[in-house]
Protein backbone atom coordinates (compact mmCIF):
# COMPACT_ATOMS: atom_id res chain seq x y z
CA UNK A 1 0.00 0.00 0.00
CA UNK A 2 2.66 2.46 1.02
CA UNK A 3 4.43 1.81 -2.27
CA UNK A 4 1.56 3.60 -3.93
CA UNK A 5 2.15 6.75 -1.92
CA UNK A 6 5.08 7.95 -3.97
CA UNK A 7 5.37 11.21 -5.81
CA UNK A 8 4.81 9.62 -9.23
CA UNK A 9 1.41 8.30 -8.23
CA UNK A 10 0.54 11.66 -6.68
CA UNK A 11 1.46 13.49 -9.88
CA UNK A 12 -0.43 10.90 -11.92
CA UNK A 13 -3.56 11.19 -9.77
CA UNK A 14 -3.50 15.00 -9.89
CA UNK A 15 -3.14 15.18 -13.64
CA UNK A 16 -5.84 12.54 -14.20
CA UNK A 17 -8.20 14.52 -11.98
CA UNK A 18 -7.37 17.64 -13.96
CA UNK A 19 -7.91 15.69 -17.21
CA UNK A 20 -11.50 14.90 -16.25
CA UNK A 21 -12.21 18.29 -14.66
CA UNK A 22 -13.98 19.79 -17.73
CA UNK A 23 -16.66 17.07 -17.60
CA UNK A 24 -17.96 18.05 -14.21
CA UNK A 25 -16.95 21.65 -13.70
CA UNK A 26 -18.68 24.95 -14.24
CA UNK A 27 -16.82 27.64 -16.25
CA UNK A 28 -15.34 29.19 -13.11
CA UNK A 29 -13.79 25.94 -11.89
CA UNK A 30 -12.58 25.26 -15.42
CA UNK A 31 -10.81 28.63 -15.27
CA UNK A 32 -9.28 27.82 -11.88
CA UNK A 33 -8.13 24.42 -13.18
CA UNK A 34 -6.54 26.13 -16.15
CA UNK A 35 -4.78 28.61 -13.86
CA UNK A 36 -3.42 25.68 -11.85
CA UNK A 37 -1.98 24.15 -15.01
CA UNK A 38 -0.38 27.45 -16.03
CA UNK A 39 1.09 28.09 -12.58
CA UNK A 40 2.47 24.54 -12.46
CA UNK A 41 4.54 25.43 -15.53
CA UNK A 42 5.59 28.75 -13.99
CA UNK A 43 6.59 27.31 -10.63
CA UNK A 44 8.50 24.53 -12.36
CA UNK A 45 10.46 27.00 -14.48
CA UNK A 46 11.35 29.07 -11.43
CA UNK A 47 12.28 26.00 -9.42
CA UNK A 48 14.65 24.81 -12.12
CA UNK A 49 16.44 28.15 -11.89
CA UNK A 50 16.38 28.63 -8.11
CA UNK A 51 16.16 25.14 -6.69
CA UNK A 52 18.28 23.16 -9.11
CA UNK A 53 20.68 25.67 -10.66
CA UNK A 54 20.83 27.85 -7.54
CA UNK A 55 20.35 31.29 -9.07
CA UNK A 56 18.19 33.58 -7.00
CA UNK A 57 16.54 35.58 -9.78
CA UNK A 58 13.55 37.87 -9.53
CA UNK A 59 12.66 38.01 -13.21
CA UNK A 60 10.22 35.11 -13.52
CA UNK A 61 7.15 37.34 -13.51
CA UNK A 62 8.80 39.53 -16.14
CA UNK A 63 9.47 36.47 -18.32
CA UNK A 64 5.84 35.44 -17.83
CA UNK A 65 4.83 38.91 -19.00
CA UNK A 66 7.21 38.84 -21.94
CA UNK A 67 5.68 35.53 -23.04
CA UNK A 68 2.14 36.86 -22.70
CA UNK A 69 2.94 40.12 -24.50
CA UNK A 70 4.90 38.36 -27.25
CA UNK A 71 2.11 35.86 -27.95
CA UNK A 72 -0.58 38.54 -27.77
CA UNK A 73 1.25 41.13 -29.85
CA UNK A 74 2.30 38.62 -32.52
CA UNK A 75 -1.37 37.77 -32.97
CA UNK A 76 -2.67 41.33 -32.88
CA UNK A 77 0.10 43.25 -34.66
CA UNK A 78 1.41 40.65 -37.09
CA UNK A 79 -1.72 38.46 -37.26
CA UNK A 80 0.11 35.26 -36.41
CA UNK A 81 -2.20 32.31 -35.70
CA UNK A 82 -2.10 31.14 -32.07
CA UNK A 83 -0.42 27.83 -32.81
CA UNK A 84 2.51 29.74 -34.32
CA UNK A 85 2.49 32.64 -31.85
CA UNK A 86 2.72 30.36 -28.79
CA UNK A 87 6.04 28.72 -29.67
CA UNK A 88 7.39 32.04 -30.95
CA UNK A 89 6.50 33.66 -27.62
CA UNK A 90 8.28 30.86 -25.79
CA UNK A 91 11.29 31.37 -28.05
CA UNK A 92 11.38 35.13 -27.43
CA UNK A 93 11.18 34.62 -23.67
CA UNK A 94 13.92 32.02 -23.95
CA UNK A 95 16.22 34.38 -25.85
CA UNK A 96 15.66 37.25 -23.42
CA UNK A 97 16.03 34.88 -20.48
CA UNK A 98 19.31 33.57 -21.85
CA UNK A 99 20.77 37.06 -22.08
CA UNK A 100 20.36 37.24 -18.30
CA UNK A 101 22.83 34.41 -17.95
CA UNK A 102 25.61 36.82 -18.90
CA UNK A 103 25.27 39.07 -15.89
CA UNK A 104 24.80 35.87 -13.87
CA UNK A 105 28.29 34.83 -14.90
CA UNK A 106 29.68 37.78 -13.00
CA UNK A 107 27.12 38.26 -10.26
CA UNK A 108 25.78 35.96 -7.62
CA UNK A 109 23.64 36.03 -4.53
CA UNK A 110 22.25 39.43 -3.64
CA UNK A 111 23.79 41.17 -6.64
CA UNK A 112 22.14 38.83 -9.12
CA UNK A 113 18.85 39.08 -7.28
CA UNK A 114 18.94 42.88 -7.46
CA UNK A 115 20.04 43.00 -11.09
CA UNK A 116 17.15 40.73 -12.09
CA UNK A 117 14.79 42.79 -9.93
CA UNK A 118 15.92 45.88 -11.83
CA UNK A 119 15.33 44.02 -15.09
CA UNK A 120 11.85 42.99 -13.97
CA UNK A 121 10.88 46.58 -13.11
CA UNK A 122 12.36 47.77 -16.40
CA UNK A 123 10.25 45.22 -18.29
CA UNK A 124 7.11 46.42 -16.56
CA UNK A 125 8.00 49.99 -17.39
CA UNK A 126 8.35 49.00 -21.06
CA UNK A 127 4.92 47.33 -21.00
CA UNK A 128 3.44 50.50 -19.52
CA UNK A 129 5.21 53.15 -21.54
CA UNK A 130 6.06 51.82 -25.00
CA UNK A 131 2.54 52.63 -26.10
CA UNK A 132 3.09 52.42 -29.84
CA UNK A 133 3.75 48.70 -29.47
CA UNK A 134 2.31 47.50 -26.17
CA UNK A 135 -0.87 49.65 -25.98
CA UNK A 136 0.28 51.08 -22.63
CA UNK A 137 -1.43 50.92 -19.27
CA UNK A 138 -4.82 49.74 -20.53
CA UNK A 139 -3.52 46.51 -22.01
CA UNK A 140 -5.11 45.00 -25.09
CA UNK A 141 -7.52 42.30 -26.18
CA UNK A 142 -6.28 39.14 -27.85
CA UNK A 143 -8.59 37.26 -30.24
CA UNK A 144 -10.06 34.09 -28.70
CA UNK A 145 -8.10 31.04 -29.66
CA UNK A 146 -9.78 29.13 -32.47
CA UNK A 147 -10.18 25.41 -31.82
CA UNK A 148 -12.90 24.87 -34.43
CA UNK A 149 -10.94 22.24 -36.43
CA UNK A 150 -11.05 20.07 -33.31
CA UNK A 151 -14.70 20.91 -32.69
CA UNK A 152 -13.93 22.25 -29.21
CA UNK A 153 -15.18 25.46 -27.61
CA UNK A 154 -12.25 27.87 -27.00
CA UNK A 155 -12.19 27.53 -23.20
CA UNK A 156 -12.16 23.72 -23.30
CA UNK A 157 -9.60 23.81 -26.09
CA UNK A 158 -7.19 26.07 -24.20
CA UNK A 159 -7.71 23.91 -21.11
CA UNK A 160 -6.64 20.75 -22.86
CA UNK A 161 -3.78 22.53 -24.58
CA UNK A 162 -2.57 23.71 -21.16
CA UNK A 163 -3.01 20.22 -19.74
CA UNK A 164 -0.98 18.69 -22.56
CA UNK A 165 1.77 21.29 -22.23
CA UNK A 166 1.89 21.09 -18.44
CA UNK A 167 2.14 17.28 -18.48
CA UNK A 168 4.85 17.27 -21.12
CA UNK A 169 6.84 20.04 -19.40
CA UNK A 170 6.64 18.22 -16.06
CA UNK A 171 7.83 15.04 -17.74
CA UNK A 172 10.57 16.95 -19.55
CA UNK A 173 11.76 18.61 -16.34
CA UNK A 174 11.69 15.28 -14.55
CA UNK A 175 13.84 13.63 -17.19
CA UNK A 176 16.17 16.58 -17.66
CA UNK A 177 16.79 16.82 -13.93
CA UNK A 178 17.55 13.08 -13.77
CA UNK A 179 20.08 13.41 -16.56
CA UNK A 180 23.50 14.97 -16.89
CA UNK A 181 21.87 18.40 -17.13
CA UNK A 182 20.24 18.13 -13.72
CA UNK A 183 23.40 16.80 -12.13
CA UNK A 184 25.40 19.65 -13.64
CA UNK A 185 22.85 22.19 -12.30
CA UNK A 186 23.01 20.77 -8.81
CA UNK A 187 26.80 20.65 -8.91
CA UNK A 188 26.83 24.30 -10.01
CA UNK A 189 24.44 25.22 -7.19
CA UNK A 190 26.51 23.51 -4.53
CA UNK A 191 29.81 25.01 -5.59
CA UNK A 192 30.65 26.73 -8.83
CA UNK A 193 34.35 26.22 -8.63
CA UNK A 194 34.02 22.56 -7.72
CA UNK A 195 31.57 22.07 -10.58
CA UNK A 196 33.89 23.76 -13.03
CA UNK A 197 36.77 21.57 -11.95
CA UNK A 198 34.59 18.51 -12.63
CA UNK A 199 34.06 19.59 -16.23
CA UNK A 200 30.80 21.54 -15.98
CA UNK A 201 31.12 24.50 -18.32
CA UNK A 202 29.52 27.26 -16.28
CA UNK A 203 28.61 29.43 -19.28
CA UNK A 204 26.73 26.59 -20.99
CA UNK A 205 24.86 25.41 -17.96
CA UNK A 206 24.00 28.85 -16.64
CA UNK A 207 22.71 29.81 -20.06
CA UNK A 208 20.76 26.54 -20.19
CA UNK A 209 19.22 27.12 -16.77
CA UNK A 210 18.08 30.63 -17.69
CA UNK A 211 16.90 29.44 -21.11
CA UNK A 212 14.83 26.60 -19.63
CA UNK A 213 13.25 28.84 -17.05
CA UNK A 214 12.60 31.46 -19.75
CA UNK A 215 10.86 28.93 -22.01
CA UNK A 216 8.68 27.64 -19.17
CA UNK A 217 7.64 31.15 -18.14
CA UNK A 218 7.16 32.28 -21.76
CA UNK A 219 4.94 29.32 -22.68
CA UNK A 220 2.95 29.86 -19.49
CA UNK A 221 2.54 33.51 -20.49
CA UNK A 222 1.28 32.49 -23.92
CA UNK A 223 -1.28 30.14 -22.36
CA UNK A 224 -2.29 32.89 -19.93
CA UNK A 225 -2.91 35.30 -22.82
CA UNK A 226 -4.97 32.59 -24.54
CA UNK A 227 -6.94 31.90 -21.36
CA UNK A 228 -7.86 35.51 -20.56
CA UNK A 229 -8.01 36.84 -24.15
CA UNK A 230 -6.54 39.94 -22.58
CA UNK A 231 -3.08 41.16 -21.61
CA UNK A 232 -2.46 44.00 -19.14
CA UNK A 233 0.80 45.24 -17.63
CA UNK A 234 -0.12 45.23 -13.94
CA UNK A 235 -0.60 41.43 -14.01
CA UNK A 236 3.17 40.98 -14.17
CA UNK A 237 4.24 42.98 -11.14
CA UNK A 238 6.24 42.06 -8.09
CA UNK A 239 3.25 40.40 -6.44
CA UNK A 240 3.15 37.95 -9.34
CA UNK A 241 6.78 37.19 -8.59
CA UNK A 242 5.99 36.62 -4.92
CA UNK A 243 3.26 34.14 -5.81
CA UNK A 244 5.72 32.13 -7.92
CA UNK A 245 8.29 32.22 -5.16
CA UNK A 246 5.74 31.16 -2.56
CA UNK A 247 4.67 28.22 -4.76
CA UNK A 248 8.25 27.05 -5.01
CA UNK A 249 8.90 27.44 -1.28
CA UNK A 250 5.62 25.90 -0.13
CA UNK A 251 5.94 22.90 -2.41
CA UNK A 252 9.62 22.36 -1.88
CA UNK A 253 12.63 24.03 -3.36
CA UNK A 254 14.56 21.75 -5.69
CA UNK A 255 11.64 19.37 -6.14
CA UNK A 256 9.51 18.89 -9.23
CA UNK A 257 6.61 17.33 -7.37
CA UNK A 258 6.90 20.20 -4.91
CA UNK A 259 6.33 22.79 -7.62
CA UNK A 260 3.21 20.97 -8.76
CA UNK A 261 1.84 20.70 -5.23
CA UNK A 262 2.74 24.30 -4.36
CA UNK A 263 1.19 25.70 -7.52
CA UNK A 264 -2.03 23.73 -7.03
CA UNK A 265 -2.52 24.73 -3.40
CA UNK A 266 -1.59 28.39 -3.80
CA UNK A 267 -3.73 28.98 -6.89
CA UNK A 268 -6.68 27.76 -4.83
CA UNK A 269 -5.71 30.15 -2.02
CA UNK A 270 -5.17 33.02 -4.46
CA UNK A 271 -8.65 32.47 -5.85
CA UNK A 272 -10.20 32.25 -2.40
CA UNK A 273 -8.75 35.67 -1.54
CA UNK A 274 -9.36 37.19 -4.97
CA UNK A 275 -11.51 40.02 -3.64
CA UNK A 276 -8.94 41.76 -1.43
CA UNK A 277 -5.50 42.73 -2.63
CA UNK A 278 -4.33 43.58 0.88
CA UNK A 279 -5.41 40.18 2.26
CA UNK A 280 -3.66 38.44 -0.63
CA UNK A 281 -0.47 40.32 0.13
CA UNK A 282 -0.61 39.59 3.85
CA UNK A 283 -1.49 35.93 3.30
CA UNK A 284 1.20 35.26 0.71
CA UNK A 285 3.83 37.18 2.66
CA UNK A 286 2.97 35.25 5.81
CA UNK A 287 2.96 31.88 4.07
CA UNK A 288 6.30 32.59 2.43
CA UNK A 289 7.80 33.77 5.70
CA UNK A 290 6.48 30.82 7.70
CA UNK A 291 7.81 28.31 5.19
CA UNK A 292 11.22 29.97 4.86
CA UNK A 293 11.67 30.14 8.62
CA UNK A 294 10.05 26.95 9.86
CA UNK A 295 9.94 24.57 6.91
CA UNK A 296 12.58 25.57 4.36
CA UNK A 297 12.25 22.24 2.56
CA UNK A 298 8.56 22.79 1.87
CA UNK A 299 5.74 20.25 2.01
CA UNK A 300 7.83 17.77 0.07
CA UNK A 301 10.31 17.50 2.93
CA UNK A 302 7.44 16.43 5.19
CA UNK A 303 6.27 13.85 2.66
CA UNK A 304 9.80 12.57 2.32
CA UNK A 305 10.11 12.10 6.05
CA UNK A 306 6.93 10.06 6.41
CA UNK A 307 6.64 8.25 3.07
CA UNK A 308 9.54 5.88 2.47
CA UNK A 309 8.83 5.47 -1.23
CA UNK A 310 8.94 9.14 -2.03
CA UNK A 311 11.79 9.26 -4.50
CA UNK A 312 12.66 12.11 -6.73
CA UNK A 313 15.50 13.01 -9.03
CA UNK A 314 18.25 14.93 -7.25
CA UNK A 315 16.26 16.33 -4.42
CA UNK A 316 18.03 18.60 -2.01
CA UNK A 317 19.41 17.37 1.28
CA UNK A 318 17.11 16.65 4.19
CA UNK A 319 17.41 20.06 5.77
CA UNK A 320 17.02 21.55 2.36
CA UNK A 321 17.18 24.98 0.87
CA UNK A 322 20.88 25.05 0.48
CA UNK A 323 21.49 27.97 -1.78
CA UNK A 324 24.94 29.07 -0.80
CA UNK A 325 26.10 32.40 -1.96
CA UNK A 326 29.31 31.15 -3.48
CA UNK A 327 31.11 34.35 -2.67
CA UNK A 328 30.49 34.76 1.00
CA UNK A 329 29.14 31.44 2.28
CA UNK A 330 27.93 31.54 5.83
CA UNK A 331 26.70 35.01 6.57
CA UNK A 332 27.59 35.30 10.19
CA UNK A 333 31.13 34.04 9.84
CA UNK A 334 32.35 35.83 6.77
CA UNK A 335 30.85 39.29 6.57
CA UNK A 336 30.55 41.42 3.46
CA UNK A 337 33.77 42.58 1.93
CA UNK A 338 35.68 44.52 4.54
CA UNK A 339 34.93 48.15 4.32
CA UNK A 340 36.84 51.12 5.47
CA UNK A 341 35.20 53.40 7.94
CA UNK A 342 33.98 56.19 5.83
CA UNK A 343 32.18 59.45 6.25
Amino acid sequence: MSRLLGCRSLLGALFICLLFLPFGANPYWLFVGNLILIYIVLALGLNILIGFAGHLAFANAAMFGIGAYAVGLLQVRLSFPYWLALPSGGLIAMLLGTTMAFPALRLSGIYLAMATLGFAQFTQWVFLNWETVTYGAGGFRVPAVDFSPLALPPKIGIYYLSWLIAVSLVAFAWNAMSSRIGRAFVAMRDGEIAAESLGVTLLHYKALAFAMSGVYAGIAGGLFAGLLDYVAPETFDLFQMITHKAMVMVGGIGSITGSVIGATLLVLLLEALRAFKSTQEIAFGTILLVFVVFCPGGLVSICRRYLPHWQEPLHVAQHAAILPDTDSGDVSDSPPPPARAEL
Binding site: L56, R106, S278, A321, V331, A339, A341, E342
Partner: protein, 292 residues
Protein backbone atom coordinates in the same frame (compact mmCIF):
# COMPACT_ATOMS: atom_id res chain seq x y z
CA UNK B 1 15.75 78.50 -15.49
CA UNK B 2 14.56 75.04 -16.41
CA UNK B 3 17.96 73.69 -15.48
CA UNK B 4 18.09 75.34 -12.05
CA UNK B 5 14.58 74.09 -11.31
CA UNK B 6 15.55 70.56 -12.36
CA UNK B 7 18.69 70.76 -10.24
CA UNK B 8 16.77 71.95 -7.17
CA UNK B 9 14.18 69.17 -7.50
CA UNK B 10 16.85 66.60 -8.28
CA UNK B 11 18.81 67.63 -5.23
CA UNK B 12 15.76 67.25 -2.99
CA UNK B 13 14.89 63.79 -4.21
CA UNK B 14 18.59 62.97 -4.21
CA UNK B 15 18.74 63.85 -0.50
CA UNK B 16 15.81 61.50 0.09
CA UNK B 17 17.43 58.63 -1.81
CA UNK B 18 20.70 59.29 -0.01
CA UNK B 19 19.00 59.05 3.39
CA UNK B 20 17.33 55.75 2.55
CA UNK B 21 20.48 54.42 0.90
CA UNK B 22 22.51 55.26 4.02
CA UNK B 23 20.21 53.01 6.06
CA UNK B 24 20.54 50.21 3.51
CA UNK B 25 24.32 50.50 3.44
CA UNK B 26 24.60 50.56 7.22
CA UNK B 27 22.70 47.30 7.47
CA UNK B 28 24.63 45.77 4.59
CA UNK B 29 27.99 46.77 5.97
CA UNK B 30 27.51 45.16 9.33
CA UNK B 31 25.35 42.16 8.45
CA UNK B 32 25.85 41.44 4.75
CA UNK B 33 22.11 41.58 4.16
CA UNK B 34 20.23 43.85 1.79
CA UNK B 35 17.12 44.60 3.80
CA UNK B 36 14.45 44.21 1.13
CA UNK B 37 11.85 45.52 3.58
CA UNK B 38 13.74 48.78 4.13
CA UNK B 39 11.40 50.76 1.89
CA UNK B 40 8.43 49.41 3.80
CA UNK B 41 9.96 50.74 7.03
CA UNK B 42 9.87 54.18 5.40
CA UNK B 43 6.28 53.66 4.31
CA UNK B 44 4.96 52.32 7.64
CA UNK B 45 6.71 55.03 9.69
CA UNK B 46 5.22 57.64 7.37
CA UNK B 47 1.75 56.23 7.91
CA UNK B 48 2.30 56.12 11.68
CA UNK B 49 3.28 59.80 11.62
CA UNK B 50 0.20 60.49 9.52
CA UNK B 51 -2.00 58.62 11.98
CA UNK B 52 -0.59 60.52 14.96
CA UNK B 53 -0.44 63.96 13.37
CA UNK B 54 -3.48 64.05 11.12
CA UNK B 55 -5.83 61.35 12.36
CA UNK B 56 -5.26 61.91 16.08
CA UNK B 57 -4.44 65.61 15.74
CA UNK B 58 -1.37 65.53 17.98
CA UNK B 59 1.47 68.00 17.37
CA UNK B 60 4.13 67.47 14.74
CA UNK B 61 6.88 66.65 17.23
CA UNK B 62 4.99 63.73 18.72
CA UNK B 63 4.34 62.39 15.21
CA UNK B 64 8.04 62.62 14.50
CA UNK B 65 8.93 60.76 17.69
CA UNK B 66 6.28 58.10 17.08
CA UNK B 67 7.58 57.51 13.57
CA UNK B 68 11.20 57.22 14.67
CA UNK B 69 10.32 54.84 17.50
CA UNK B 70 8.24 52.78 15.08
CA UNK B 71 11.05 52.64 12.48
CA UNK B 72 13.62 51.72 15.11
CA UNK B 73 11.47 49.06 16.73
CA UNK B 74 10.23 47.55 13.51
CA UNK B 75 13.74 47.37 12.10
CA UNK B 76 14.94 45.49 15.16
CA UNK B 77 11.87 43.28 15.17
CA UNK B 78 12.41 42.25 11.56
CA UNK B 79 15.93 41.15 12.32
CA UNK B 80 15.24 39.46 15.63
CA UNK B 81 11.98 37.87 14.63
CA UNK B 82 12.67 36.60 11.17
CA UNK B 83 16.09 37.16 9.70
CA UNK B 84 18.34 36.14 12.58
CA UNK B 85 17.40 32.45 12.62
CA UNK B 86 17.99 32.36 8.86
CA UNK B 87 21.46 33.86 8.92
CA UNK B 88 22.96 30.41 9.41
CA UNK B 89 21.11 28.74 6.55
CA UNK B 90 21.61 30.88 3.48
CA UNK B 91 21.58 34.40 2.17
CA UNK B 92 18.92 33.51 -0.39
CA UNK B 93 16.51 32.54 2.38
CA UNK B 94 17.20 35.78 4.24
CA UNK B 95 16.46 37.75 1.10
CA UNK B 96 13.24 35.87 0.40
CA UNK B 97 12.11 36.26 4.01
CA UNK B 98 12.72 40.02 3.86
CA UNK B 99 10.66 40.24 0.66
CA UNK B 100 7.90 38.30 2.39
CA UNK B 101 7.96 40.75 5.31
CA UNK B 102 7.80 43.69 2.93
CA UNK B 103 4.63 42.24 1.43
CA UNK B 104 3.06 41.70 4.84
CA UNK B 105 3.77 45.33 5.80
CA UNK B 106 2.47 46.59 2.47
CA UNK B 107 -0.69 44.53 2.84
CA UNK B 108 -1.24 45.83 6.37
CA UNK B 109 -0.81 49.44 5.26
CA UNK B 110 -3.23 48.85 2.39
CA UNK B 111 -5.76 47.29 4.73
CA UNK B 112 -5.51 50.07 7.32
CA UNK B 113 -4.90 53.24 5.31
CA UNK B 114 -6.80 52.67 2.14
CA UNK B 115 -6.71 50.95 -1.19
CA UNK B 116 -4.40 51.00 -4.13
CA UNK B 117 -3.84 54.37 -5.73
CA UNK B 118 -4.86 56.39 -2.70
CA UNK B 119 -2.22 59.07 -2.36
CA UNK B 120 -2.46 60.52 1.11
CA UNK B 121 -1.28 64.12 1.48
CA UNK B 122 0.82 64.90 4.52
CA UNK B 123 0.83 68.50 5.82
CA UNK B 124 4.19 70.27 5.43
CA UNK B 125 5.97 71.86 8.39
CA UNK B 126 6.05 75.33 6.85
CA UNK B 127 3.59 76.91 4.45
CA UNK B 128 3.34 75.15 1.11
CA UNK B 129 3.73 78.43 -0.78
CA UNK B 130 6.86 78.49 -2.95
CA UNK B 131 9.44 81.15 -2.16
CA UNK B 132 12.22 82.71 -4.21
CA UNK B 133 15.71 81.73 -3.21
CA UNK B 134 17.81 84.02 -5.40
CA UNK B 135 16.69 83.23 -8.94
CA UNK B 136 15.26 79.79 -8.04
CA UNK B 137 11.74 79.13 -6.89
CA UNK B 138 11.63 76.49 -4.18
CA UNK B 139 9.09 75.06 -1.78
CA UNK B 140 10.17 75.63 1.85
CA UNK B 141 9.77 71.91 2.53
CA UNK B 142 12.52 71.25 -0.01
CA UNK B 143 14.95 73.41 1.95
CA UNK B 144 13.96 71.67 5.19
CA UNK B 145 14.40 68.28 3.53
CA UNK B 146 17.88 69.02 2.26
CA UNK B 147 18.85 70.68 5.53
CA UNK B 148 17.65 67.82 7.73
CA UNK B 149 19.33 65.29 5.46
CA UNK B 150 22.66 67.09 5.72
CA UNK B 151 22.27 67.46 9.49
CA UNK B 152 21.38 63.79 9.88
CA UNK B 153 24.38 62.68 7.88
CA UNK B 154 26.69 64.87 9.93
CA UNK B 155 25.15 63.41 13.08
CA UNK B 156 25.74 59.94 11.70
CA UNK B 157 29.36 60.73 10.94
CA UNK B 158 29.75 61.99 14.50
CA UNK B 159 28.04 58.84 15.77
CA UNK B 160 30.59 56.65 14.01
CA UNK B 161 33.56 58.78 15.02
CA UNK B 162 32.74 59.61 18.61
CA UNK B 163 30.49 57.02 20.22
CA UNK B 164 31.28 53.58 21.52
CA UNK B 165 28.39 51.93 19.70
CA UNK B 166 29.48 53.57 16.47
CA UNK B 167 32.95 52.14 16.91
CA UNK B 168 31.51 48.69 17.66
CA UNK B 169 29.56 48.86 14.44
CA UNK B 170 32.64 49.84 12.49
CA UNK B 171 34.65 47.06 14.05
CA UNK B 172 31.96 44.50 13.27
CA UNK B 173 31.71 45.68 9.70
CA UNK B 174 35.46 45.43 9.39
CA UNK B 175 35.99 41.94 10.78
CA UNK B 176 33.36 39.91 12.61
CA UNK B 177 35.72 37.38 14.12
CA UNK B 178 38.12 39.97 15.45
CA UNK B 179 35.20 42.00 16.80
CA UNK B 180 33.97 38.93 18.67
CA UNK B 181 37.43 38.30 20.03
CA UNK B 182 37.72 41.73 21.56
CA UNK B 183 34.39 41.25 23.27
CA UNK B 184 31.96 43.11 21.07
CA UNK B 185 28.50 41.57 21.15
CA UNK B 186 28.12 41.13 17.44
CA UNK B 187 24.50 40.00 17.60
CA UNK B 188 23.53 43.20 19.39
CA UNK B 189 25.39 45.24 16.83
CA UNK B 190 23.40 43.52 14.06
CA UNK B 191 20.12 44.26 15.83
CA UNK B 192 21.13 47.87 16.40
CA UNK B 193 22.12 48.40 12.77
CA UNK B 194 18.70 47.22 11.67
CA UNK B 195 17.11 49.51 14.24
CA UNK B 196 19.15 52.57 13.30
CA UNK B 197 18.57 51.89 9.61
CA UNK B 198 14.84 51.84 10.31
CA UNK B 199 15.05 55.02 12.38
CA UNK B 200 16.82 56.87 9.55
CA UNK B 201 14.14 55.67 7.14
CA UNK B 202 11.52 57.01 9.58
CA UNK B 203 13.15 60.45 9.77
CA UNK B 204 13.34 60.53 5.98
CA UNK B 205 9.70 59.56 5.79
CA UNK B 206 8.46 62.35 8.09
CA UNK B 207 10.43 65.05 6.27
CA UNK B 208 9.69 63.81 2.79
CA UNK B 209 6.07 62.72 3.07
CA UNK B 210 4.75 66.23 2.27
CA UNK B 211 6.69 66.10 -1.01
CA UNK B 212 6.33 62.45 -2.04
CA UNK B 213 2.83 61.87 -0.57
CA UNK B 214 2.09 58.55 1.07
CA UNK B 215 0.78 55.36 -0.52
CA UNK B 216 1.33 51.69 0.29
CA UNK B 217 3.49 51.04 -2.77
CA UNK B 218 5.89 53.91 -2.12
CA UNK B 219 8.21 51.70 -0.08
CA UNK B 220 9.26 49.45 -2.89
CA UNK B 221 9.73 52.30 -5.39
CA UNK B 222 11.98 54.14 -2.98
CA UNK B 223 13.81 50.97 -2.05
CA UNK B 224 14.79 50.41 -5.67
CA UNK B 225 15.96 54.00 -6.07
CA UNK B 226 17.91 53.87 -2.83
CA UNK B 227 19.43 50.60 -3.90
CA UNK B 228 20.46 52.20 -7.19
CA UNK B 229 22.12 54.95 -5.17
CA UNK B 230 23.81 52.50 -2.83
CA UNK B 231 25.12 50.28 -5.58
CA UNK B 232 26.33 53.26 -7.57
CA UNK B 233 28.21 54.43 -4.51
CA UNK B 234 29.68 51.02 -3.91
CA UNK B 235 27.27 49.29 -1.49
CA UNK B 236 29.73 49.27 1.40
CA UNK B 237 30.55 52.95 1.58
CA UNK B 238 28.27 55.36 3.41
CA UNK B 239 29.81 58.37 1.72
CA UNK B 240 29.32 56.54 -1.58
CA UNK B 241 25.63 56.06 -0.79
CA UNK B 242 25.20 59.80 -0.22
CA UNK B 243 27.00 60.61 -3.44
CA UNK B 244 25.05 57.91 -5.29
CA UNK B 245 21.76 59.25 -3.95
CA UNK B 246 22.44 62.75 -5.18
CA UNK B 247 23.58 61.44 -8.57
CA UNK B 248 20.50 59.23 -8.98
CA UNK B 249 18.24 62.14 -8.00
CA UNK B 250 19.91 64.45 -10.50
CA UNK B 251 19.95 61.87 -13.32
CA UNK B 252 16.24 61.28 -12.76
CA UNK B 253 15.30 64.94 -12.88
CA UNK B 254 17.51 65.72 -15.86
CA UNK B 255 16.12 62.73 -17.77
CA UNK B 256 12.59 63.86 -16.94
CA UNK B 257 13.29 67.47 -17.95
CA UNK B 258 15.26 66.99 -21.12
CA UNK B 259 14.14 63.61 -22.47
CA UNK B 260 10.61 62.79 -21.38
CA UNK B 261 8.85 62.63 -18.03
CA UNK B 262 8.46 58.89 -18.59
CA UNK B 263 12.18 58.42 -18.20
CA UNK B 264 12.15 59.61 -14.61
CA UNK B 265 10.76 56.29 -13.40
CA UNK B 266 13.06 54.08 -15.37
CA UNK B 267 16.42 55.77 -14.92
CA UNK B 268 17.05 54.16 -11.54
CA UNK B 269 16.49 50.64 -12.92
CA UNK B 270 18.94 51.39 -15.68
CA UNK B 271 21.44 52.69 -13.12
CA UNK B 272 21.05 49.46 -11.10
CA UNK B 273 21.62 47.16 -14.06
CA UNK B 274 24.43 49.23 -15.48
CA UNK B 275 26.23 49.66 -12.17
CA UNK B 276 25.90 46.02 -11.16
CA UNK B 277 27.10 44.65 -14.44
CA UNK B 278 29.81 47.11 -15.42
CA UNK B 279 31.06 48.60 -12.18
CA UNK B 280 30.10 46.30 -9.30
CA UNK B 281 32.49 48.11 -6.95
CA UNK B 282 30.71 51.39 -7.49
CA UNK B 283 32.28 54.79 -7.19
CA UNK B 284 33.71 54.54 -3.69
CA UNK B 285 33.26 50.90 -2.75
CA UNK B 286 36.10 48.65 -1.92
CA UNK B 287 37.06 45.94 -4.35
CA UNK B 288 35.51 42.61 -3.51
CA UNK B 289 38.20 40.03 -4.02
CA UNK B 290 36.87 36.56 -4.53
CA UNK B 291 38.89 33.92 -2.80
CA UNK B 292 38.92 30.33 -3.96
Amino acid sequence: MLLTYALATGLTSGALYALIAVGLVMVYKSTGIINMAHGELFMISGFIAYAVHVQLGLPYVSAFIAAVVCGFGLGMLIYRGALKPLMRSSLANVLVAAVAISFILKGLARAIWGGQGDYIPFPPILSPMPIMLGPVMVIPQQIIAVGVSVALMLALALFFKATRIGKWMQATADNVKAARLVGIRVEQVYVLSFGIGGAIAAVASVIMAPITLLYPDIGFNLFLKAFAAAVLGGLNSILGAVLGGVIVGLIEQLAATYLHSKFQEVSSFIVIMFALIFMPNGLLGQRNIRKV
